[in-house]
Amino acid sequence: MRELRWIWLFAAKDLRTELRSGGRLPAMAAFVVLAGFLFAVSLDRTQIPSRSVAAGLLWLVVLFAAIAGAGRTFDLEDRHGAFRHVLLAPVSRRAVFLGKTAANLVLLWLATALAFVAVTAFLGVRSPGALVAHGAVLLPGTVGLAAVGTFFGRVSSHSSLGDTLLPVLALPLLVPVVFFGATATARVFLDRPWPEVAGPVRLLWAFALGALAAGAVLFRHTAED
């Protein structure tokens, strides 16, 4: 129970702070809309059917929005030394990681919803498939992205290289998420039956749960002095 309360405390604090500072969400939203627009104008849709490329583009936009958001996860924690006092409290490092991941996940869901609307609208995808099926694919994918982004967000904020280190560390690990996510989303766009989608979704869940577990165990090594 206490762990759940700590997770809730952290997630609520991060979201309240984000709402008032307005730093990450507008940046992610601007990137998502701009990327969707640029993809739309740069593709010759008479040669490539929109539904064939929409999945890949959607996952690329979501991936980079996740990295952009994760890069600033610990900015406010470190700016006035607040994280030092968090670590001095008898709170488990696992709860800190999961709470911050939860807050990142909420922001990423908002960015993902916007990306979905932007990509389908700009590419003119008239029948994108079942929204519930898209949600079932995007949910485990975004959990994996948020967990990996939060973990390496701490690693990079602790390093002298700062934000430049985050994509170098995170992107290679996130290749499976984008690959399986884009595969499953493409099948949903093409109205394939659920059993064809379920395989990659199971792998996305496996990645997401593995990333959460590994982050929860390893976070204390990146957090402490």
Binding site: R2, R5, W6, L9, K13, R16, T17, R20, S21, L76, R79, H80, G81, A82, R84, H85, V86, L87, L88, A89, P90, V91, S92, E224, D225
Partner: protein, 240 residues
Amino acid sequence: MTLEGRDLVCDYGPTRALDGVSASAQAGAILAVFGPNGAGKTTLLKALSGERRLDGGRVLFDGVPVSGTDPAWRARVGVVSHRTGLYEKLTVEENLRFFAGLHGQRAADDALRTALNRVGASALAAARVGELSRGQRQRAALARTLLHDPEVVFLDEPFTGLDPDGAALLEAALAELSTGKRIVVLATHDVARGLRLADRFLVLRCGRVALEDAAVGHQAPDVTAAFDATAALAPAEVAG
């Protein structure tokens, strides 16, 4: 209650920040730590609080070894530094509630009011930290530290950047802190103020204890002379 550091060693890469430092502090008294920049004052406080991993030696609380990896020990410790450690976009009350929650205090209303009253900051509860003056922020930070009623309080340059009024208010709050059962360890450049507040003091020089004594009977120039003369020395290099 006694807090004791025995033969503490802390390294930052090849630089030895603490080189076999031993120090002890008693309940109801303030131990001041003086020294030039880079002498190891902050590292000593971090080592004693368990915030910094030790490369040698140990910390004992009432004779029992303690470590920063133990949540039970962290619950007994409070820290105030020149960085307030508060979230600027949250109000003072929201900050205090958040940190109280981390300490497992669910119904923190009374504790919150008491902590704010003790540092004369009850009027600041609804204000966002980012809108407060430096002195007000420091008082809010002290309230945060007192919220879980720590038995050991570490103060790392708490007067930095405070105007005379803010410093006087903080000084009064610190004097009250040490009247209870608390152990207070204060690291400061301000030797005159430190000697006025403290019961005992020690001077660190290049990661070693250069002088340790009762504060009574010492004047600031005597103590400052003890570390000024060697302030330009480089930190000790780790052998090998």
